[in-house]
């Protein structure tokens, strides 16, 4: 017999997170079975999810609710298909097409108005994905942690 919660997960529609609106946040929370905490900053809101595997996912929402960045940090790599939404396939192709003599130990993909970065090491993964054109005025990339 399939547990009820699992059925719910399978029935979730495909949705956006990066570039999506606040409703996608709820989808993320359900999908990752995560706890949620929100922090209001002057120009944006940080919604912080903690996944059962111990990874912190932060989603940065503009005043209108639109999510312009996500970041993660913790012992398990997150479900990037979930976090990147419609940008996932593009990212995956670009990451697989990395040129030779390139960076090893980090990932830096910049294309079609999306930047995806990953760093860390085995057992400690950090990353962020953002829409550089949509960062609130004055916000620094280094704030996306």
């Amino acid at each position: 017999m399939v547990p009820v919660a699992w059925v719910l997960l399978l029935n979730l529609p495909a949705f956006a997170v990066l570039g999506g609106d606040a409703s996608s946040l709820r989808d993320d929370q359900v999908h990752m079975n995560a706890s949620l905490r929100s922090t209001q900053m002057p120009a944006y809101t940080i919604h912080e999810l903690r996944t059962p595997a111990g990874t912190i996912v932060r989603e940065f929402a503009a005043s209108g609710g639109r999510i312009f960045a996500v970041s993660w940090n913790g012992p398990a790599a997150p479900d990037l298909r979930q976090l990147l939404g419609p940008h996932f396939e593009d990212f995956q192709q670009a990451a697989a097409a990395q040129k030779t003599r390139g960076p090893r130990g980090v990932l830096f993909i910049q294309q079609n108005g999306v930047v995806v970065q990953m760093g860390g090491h085995m057992r400690s993964y950090a990353g962020r994905a953002y829409l550089p054109d949509q960062l609130p005025t004055g916000m620094r990339v280094d704030d996306l942690r």
Binding site: M32, N33, T51, P52, A53, G54, S71, N73, P75, A76, A77, P78, D79, L80, R81, Q82, L84, F88, F91, Q92, A95, A96, Q98, K99, T100, R101, G102, P103, R104, G105, V106, L107, F108, Q110, Q117, M118, G119, G120, H121, M122, R123, S124, Y125, A126, G127, R128, R140, V141, D142, L144, R145
Partner: protein, 406 residues
């Protein structure tokens, strides 16, 4: 197909001879067995390493060595060159011939309820996929018996969905891995650790029981996970030292040593090195211009990866966008610290597009690039510095691991 790396190791010929004898004593390959030499009273603990472009000729700042593996408790062995030496991961992974690698030796498959066990191991910029096997491992004069390792094999079962959704590429070929394997000799004893012993959504989805092409996540006890071979050694088992000389910039190759043990022999004393204990995630701290970041020391990262163009004022390269390209060489300074111990590191970053203009070169001590909110002291940090990695819960003259010292 094999791509032997050039043997330009700067090691005394006596040591090389000893390595040869130790490998021959395993009985593998075409080397004649030699049983006339008595074993040394303490193990030869020095393994030659070389920095070059690797067996696929597509790496920069890659540090490689050779490893001998045997079917456990037999003399059926194979020596494999072009193995990446990685202090940022834990455990031995060998690329199968099916993936274009050198490994042809058939090693025993580990099973769960009769099904083969596969692993999707998490690296930052890719994952390795393939079966869990066991091997006897010989590196220099050090032996590790019956060690769980990963064989990297793109033809094994089918890559499961929870592995694909990490989004990073599958590094299961010689071109994508850039090496015939990875020797993970970082500060932890297992690759995944306690997280992989858990069930349900707390499990990070590394280990699978595979029936045909269908793989299901399974919890994995610590002792059955892929293991750092160093704690398995009879002696010199509390850590390693990566020793590389200072490098001219740029050059084609650089030779050095991987020394096993910390304070166990006259050639691996701590000396005046500062000791930096690391946290449960394998990190310490680095401060740059008043901001503090989680940080780590990683021979498997091929540059200094830190911050971003916005924060450093250094643009990324027009051609190699994952690296920095300052107009003039940037002279930088950051403070590494753990608890009350700290040390300021001065380092330089120069234009990667220019550094790469001569494809014969593979050693670059000024190679840097952007990162997320972590500070990654990659291989250039090791040039001209002896870097000690103490394994978790192991005693050393500098205290109990895990720590880094330099």
């Amino acid at each position: 197909m094999k791509f032997p790396i050039p043997l330009r190791f700067g090691i005394a010929s006596a040591v090389l001879a000893l390595v040869g004898l130790q490998l021959a004593s395993c009985g593998g390959g075409s080397s004649p067995s030699n049983n006339m030499i008595p074993p040394p009273t303490s193990a030869n603990n020095v393994q030659p390493v070389v920095v070059n472009s690797g067996p696929a000729n597509n790496y920069v700042n890659g540090i490689f060595t050779s490893v001998t593996v045997c079917v456990p408790s037999t003399s059926n062995c194979q020596t494999i060159n072009g193995i990446l030496v990685d202090t940022g991961s834990y455990g031995l992974r060998l690329l199968s011939s099916a993936g274009g690698g050198a490994l042809t030796l058939s090693l025993p498959q580990q099973t769960s309820s009769g099904n083969p066990i596969g692993e999707c191991a998490g690296f930052v910029s890719g994952f390795t996929w393939g079966p869990l096997k066991t091997a006897d491992i010989t590196i220099s004069g050090e032996h590790a018996g019956n060690v769980p390792i990963q064989v990297v094999d793109p033809t094994f079962s089918t890559v499961p969905e929870p592995c694909k959704i990490r989004g990073v590429p599958e590094n299961d070929t010689l071109q994508t891995l850039g090496a015939n394997g990875i020797l993970g000799i970082g500060p932890f004893a297992q690759d995944c650790g306690s997280q992989c012993t858990l069930t349900g959504m707390s499990n990070p989805n590394w280990y699978y029981s595979c029936a045909g092409s269908s793989c299901q996540v399974i919890p994995m006890p610590l002792a059955q996970q892929v293991q750092n071979p160093v704690p398995f050694f009879a002696t010199d088992n509390n850590g390693v030292i990566v020793e590389l000389p200072a490098a001219a910039n740029p050059v084609p190759t650089l030779s050095g040593s991987l020394v096993f043990g910390i304070g166990t022999q006259s050639n691996n004393t701590l000396g005046v090195s500062s000791i930096f204990p690391i946290d449960a995630s394998g990190n310490f701290s680095t401060s740059y211009k008043g901001q503090t970041y989680p940080a780590f020391v990683d021979s498997g990262s091929n540059g200094y990866f830190f911050l971003d163009s916005n924060t450093t004022g250094i643009p990324t390269c027009p051609s190699n966008s994952g690296f920095y390209c300052p107009a003039l060489t940037a002279n930088l300074s950051a403070m590494t610290s753990s608890g009350s111990v700290s040390e300021t590191i001065n380092f330089n970053v120069s234009d990667a597009d220019t550094l790469f203009s001569n494809s014969a070169n593979a050693v670059f001590n000024t190679l840097g690039g952007p990162n997320t909110g972590m500070f990654d002291w990659g291989l250039p940090f090791f040039y001209g510095r002896n870097v000690y990695t103490a394994v978790e819960s192991k005693n050393t003259p500098g205290g109990v691991g895990p720590y880094w010292a330099y």
